[in-house]
Symmetry: C2
Subunit: 167 residues, 2 copies
């Protein structure tokens, strides 16, 4: 996949026309990561979003788990992994405001990313508010989908907890 | 509080200037609810968002809880309640796309709401994309804050579940 395709197929840019896609391409920067390199560290401040052009990445989140009486350990829970054909973006919350990364992203193979910084993104959408609106509509849709997924997870976990406590 | 103040103080409209606030006001519709009336039913399709101008509302979500062996019951969990001075909006996800309501909202007192339908909202932001962008930036910020809250809830619940299972 090349940079232009990676943008075109990414959900938040999927409603843009050719001219608008070309404008987005001008603010992207290629960034390479080696296998096992940490791309994003959970909790760190970030000001860029990324999309995968080549390679495979893993997403993980830290959790406190109980292993025995008074034995609580911080464990790393690997959530999932993504390839370019998943057309996933990372760190998109950073486009809207100063963001603490909500998960860690690690390169599972050598990777090529496209990065977009918040500063460049804001300049772009302020210069072309029609373009900005199309991206923000899709970004809102993406966030809503994630929020619904989270709500379902909360209900599932609450139910499981209720069962565990009543055993 | 009057309709104009309710809009002005609502987070997603907080970056608009006077002229833009006036435009938003033209697409709002007043809606009254009596005490104990259901304003929104969890799971139902909806195409409007609301903000509270007068009265108090309660938010609840249904959960499956275990009360004994093979005794699972669907219970209603009251999450919280809101007054006009909380400047809270409901059903804002419906502005972006067809939405199943994620919680139920009930009138705890007689209430006056302002409603904005998706159709009117889309027309408004397409006619004035600068206005649209300002609202969508704030909406994204709101969704991101909720998503972070949900993530913390998931971590807390996962931790609690791990402790309960290892007792």
């Amino acid at each position: 996949m090349n940079a232009s395709d990676a943008i075109r197929r990414s959900f938040i840019f999927s409603s843009l026309d050719e001219e608008q896609l070309a404008k987005v391409l001008t603010i992207t920067r290629e960034k390479k990561f080696h296998k096992d390199e940490i791309i994003m560290q959970e909790g760190e401040k970030g000001d860029s979003m990324y999309l995968v052009v080549e390679g495979e990445v893993g997403v993980s989140k830290s959790l406190t788990m109980k292993f025995g009486d008074n034995d609580f350990r911080q464990t790393e829970k690997v959530l999932t992994s993504f390839k370019p054909e998943d057309h996933v973006i990372f760190g998109e919350m950073a486009l809207i405001g100063q963001d603490s990364r909500s998960a860690s992203i690690i390169a599972r193979t050598d990777c090529l990313f496209l990065g977009i910084s918040r500063g460049d993104f804001i300049k772009l959408i302020e210069a072309d508010s029609n373009l900005g609106m199309k991206i923000l509509m899709k970004l809102s849709e993406l966030l809503i989908n994630r929020l619904k997924q989270s709500s379902q997870d909360i209900i599932r976990l609450t139910t499981a907890l209720s069962i565990a406590l009543n055993k």
